[in-house]
């Protein structure tokens, strides 16, 4: 086992003339919960897509658990569990069949899938619909199913894009607790979120990206301190990203 679970070196991604990610250097340790924050269009999703192997970088390298993803993509991906922000899954399979499908892709033993799959569906409180088609699931239920399937193969790295979208308060609490427990058992969590409260509660460290570059990194306390010991993390975030100026909305309100 290597000490760093994610290592991004000079990572760059260009779309034509536009560089969505510029020279990104980042290291996330094993067992760490890392929050990846930034305003809209900062390059969060592009970075995540490169980490999970959905997108090729223009330059730079990505190492997952010491494995260069460009050299052994499958080995690197077998260590990752990915939870996207929008829960698109196959509509015409049941919850349990979906678990079997995902488990099969990660070469798990069918008996293990059945046992652990049911445990996870129970944990995420969707075991009662495990034999129903996904097309009948609500948004939140789909999100829960994706989360259950993402940790089914016991990944060493969990990459999460906006974890709380579509979850009710009970589900959100469960997820926060789960992330913490997973991290305590050595799983690394790399999480992109706009919910600063979640980052504050769960993350050991956060990195703030803006215009494709890391502009700040450290623990929440470190960042607050560097921004002038502001009380609220929201204010710290806005200050670090240069968005703290109050926009004049009076005209719109009075309209």
């Amino acid at each position: 086992m290597t000490a760093s679970m994610i290592k991004l070196t000079d990572l760059r991604k260009e779309y034509g003339q536009f560089a969505a990610v510029k020279q990104l250097n980042l290291e996330v340790k094993s067992g760490e919960v890392f929050g990846f924050l930034g305003p809209n269009g900062a390059g969060k999703t592009t970075t995540i897509k490169m980490i999970v192997g959905m997108m090729q970088p223009t330059a730079g390298s990505i190492e997952i658990d010491g494995i260069d993803i460009s050299k052994d993509r499958d080995a690197a991906k077998s260590r990752i569990g990915f939870i996207p922000d929008r829960p698109y899954i196959y509509e015409k399979v049941t919850g349990m069949e979906f678990m079997h499908f995902i488990g099969g892709l990660f070469r798990m033993d069918p008996d293990d899938i059945e046992k652990r799959g049911m445990e996870l569906l129970r944990l995420f409180e969707i075991d009662h619909v495990s034999n129903e088609l996904v097309s009948g699931y609500s948004h939140g239920m789909r999100q829960r199913l994706i989360m259950a399937s993402a940790i089914l193969h016991r990944p060493r790295l969990l990459v999460v894009d906006e974890p709380m979208v579509g979850l009710d308060p009970r589900g959100a609490k469960l997820v926060k607790k789960l992330f913490r427990q997973q991290a305590d058992h050595g799983t690394t969590i790399f999480m992109s979120t706009h919910t600063l409260e979640v980052a504050e509660q769960v993350c050991d460290r956060v990195g703030i990206i803006q215009h494709g570059e890391i502009v700040a990194m450290g623990s929440i306390a470190d960042l607050k301190r560097s921004a002038g010991a502001l009380e609220k993390f929201e204010e710290t975030f806005l200050q670090l990203t240069g968005l703290s100026d109050e926009q004049d909305v009076t005209g719109v309100v009075e309209g």
Partner: protein, 566 residues
């Protein structure tokens, strides 16, 4: 009324933009299908003219026959319009994606109903108007109708379609209260498919080609003249047929205008009733339409056991790909309704060979019979390409927005694409062989030809499957959910052209070896070294073409998927 117009404005804008700002694919599609439609309309005009000329010549029945035929036609239009209005209304009134926005807007539900009715009327009625016009134009031409008959055709058809479409919409409002909309849509689509297949068979059993036999035609005309069509003054089909023929009968001023106005008036009354009912209970029906889950026929233990038995055993990834594919395929009703239709196509194809009865024709030699058996590989290949374009080609695109699952799994896109290929190859191979062997048996081809043509078809079936998978991977459309719509995209045109070229090249290249071997078998001559060289060279060329058709598109498809950045 202003609200209603505003409600359909969105659809009008969308239609306008797709005409004024078409994508390249749109332009190509419009041109392709536009040309196809024009060709069909011209053929319909010519066919109808010939048919009416034949009817006109059949004294003393001529005029009576035309009246009967038009009554029959309007009755058919009426039934088809009511049925298709129910299917379209279900979607337009209860399932369309923008309905939540409309239902929650501060607009009365009667207005929503009216706007959606107009949309339904246009999308359902255009068919009758467009394809009815050439038939009646031909009728007017043959029976020397006055000039105003031609604009009159349009007026009558438009006035006629309002009533059945309004009835269909009204019926839908009641049906949705009794059954969940999604379930009902599935059932109706299946019913429609069964209806089309049954109608086709009825048409085939009538054997219209026999009407060209003068004796039989006279018998048919006599029979048709005595046939009773329901002719009640209460039926809109009666109003339509009387109004349509009134300029020919010289009763335009008396019957013609009366029935035209009657159709318009009744149409409006039913629309008005629909609006009043919608104002009172649309929301209730809309709420009901949200209930109920989709049909699930494949959840039974027996189906599961069958799928598990069919799935590959050793490789878990291939097994899971197979299971996912077969489950999603059979649970998607839009897939198996089309499957039913294509099965009908296959049966009709074979039925035609059975009905062909070559023995009736003089001069059908052994050679000719077997040559037809060989050329039949081309026809069977075309049928299989049509099946592949609908089922195999969209298989990559059908992953849809869930494609991220494959992209992030520790599975190479190579094994994913080949997994798709291995899933589809078995059914394509079996159906292809069935087509060629069965049609050759019906044709009375000998064993040599059956073995020869089925061997060529075996290679072709593998190649046309991989072409479909490869081209599907090169041009995937992960946004489109409907496989039927994918089958009309630009990739399908590329696939069909490539597939036709492949089939013709392979069958053409193997024609000479087929002829040499057949003549040798019949004892016309012994094969010389030159003959063997020709056979070997042809086989080598065909094997190279087949190998290229298997590997080039699949490899290009994998490369293209690897380069995707969404």
């Amino acid at each position: 009324m202003k609200d209603t117009v505003h409600l359909i404005r969105g659809k009008v804008w969308a239609a306008r933009n797709s005409i004024t700002r078409p994508s390249r694919a749109d332009r190509f599609k419009t041109m392709f299908f536009g040309t196809l439609t024009v060709v069909f309309l011209i053929a319909l005009l010519y066919g109808s003219t010939a048919f009416f000329q034949k009817l006109a010549a059949e004294e003393p029945f001529g005029s009576l026959l035309v009246h009967k035929l038009v009554e029959f036609l309007f009755l058919t239009f009426f039934a088809v319009m009511v049925f298709s209005s129910v299917v379209t209304s279900l979607n337009n009134f209860f399932l369309d994606g923008d309905l939540p926005m409309l239902v929650t807007a501060p607009i009365t539900h009667g207005r929503v109903y009216l706007a959606r009715f107009l949309q339904t009327a246009v999308s359902t009625g255009w068919m009758v108007v467009m394809f009815g016009m050439p038939v009646f134009i031909a009728c007017g031409y043959v029976f020397q109708a006055p000039w105003f008959f031609y604009p009159w055709i349009f007026l009558v058809l438009v006035a006629f379609v309002i009533t059945p479409i309004a009835l269909g919409s009204l019926l839908t409002m009641f049906l949705v209260r009794a059954f969940p909309a999604r379930k009902m849509q599935d059932i109706l689509v299946i019913l429609a498919v069964v209806l089309v297949v049954v109608l086709y068979f009825v048409f085939r059993f009538i054997r219209p080609e026999q009407l060209f036999n003068p004796d039989l035609f006279y018998g048919f005309a006599e029979y048709f003249a005595t046939l009773r069509t329901p002719k009640s003054p209460l039926l809109p089909s009666t109003w339509g047929s009387i109004a349509m023929l009134s300029p020919l009968d010289g009763t335009l001023k008396t019957d013609g205008f009366f029935y035209l106005l009657q159709m318009l008036a009744w149409g409006m009354v039913i629309v008005l009733i629909g609006t009043v009912i919608a104002n009172r209970s649309y929301l209730d029906a809309y709420t009901k339409s949200q209930e109920g889950r989709l049909l699930r026929l494949t959840g039974s233990n027996m189906a599961q056991a069958l799928f598990n038995a069919l799935a590959p055993k050793r490789d878990e990834i291939r097994r899971q790909f197979f299971l996912k594919e077969i489950r999603t395929f059979f649970r998607d009703t839009s897939q198996w309704t089309q499957l039913l239709l294509l099965m009908g196509l296959v049966v009709v194809y074979l039925f035609n060979f059975k009905a062909l009865d070559l023995d009736r024709f003089a001069g059908i030699t052994y050679n000719l019979r077997n040559t037809i058996g060989y050329i039949n590989v081309v026809m069977a290949g075309f049928v299989m390409s049509a099946i592949c374009v609908r089922f195999v080609l969209p298989s990559i695109s059908l992953e849809g927005k869930a494609f991220w699952i494959i992209r992030t799994a520790p599975v190479s896109l190579r094994s994913f694409v080949w997994g798709k290929f291995f899933f589809y190859i078995a059914p394509v191979f079996i159906v292809s062989e069935m087509l060629v062997i069965a049609s050759n048996i019906y044709l009375g081809a000998d064993m040599y030809m059956i073995v020869f043509s089925s061997t060529i078809m075996a290679f072709l079936s593998v190649a046309i499957t991989s072409l479909a998978i490869g081209i599907g991977a090169m041009y995937p459309n992960f946004e489109e959910k409907n496989a039927a719509r994918m089958a009309t995209g630009i990739s399908s045109i590329i696939y069909m052209s490539a597939s036709f070229l492949l089939i013709c090249t392979v069958v053409g290249t193997m024609a000479q070896p087929m002829r040499l071997l057949m003549w040798h078998r019949l004892g016309h001559f012994n094969l010389t070294g030159v003959h063997y060289a020709i056979i070997a060279l042809s086989v080598a060329i065909v094997l190279a073409i087949i190998a290229a058709a298997i590997f080039v598109p699949i490899n290009r498809g994998i490369e293209s998927l690897n380069l995707r950045e969404d």
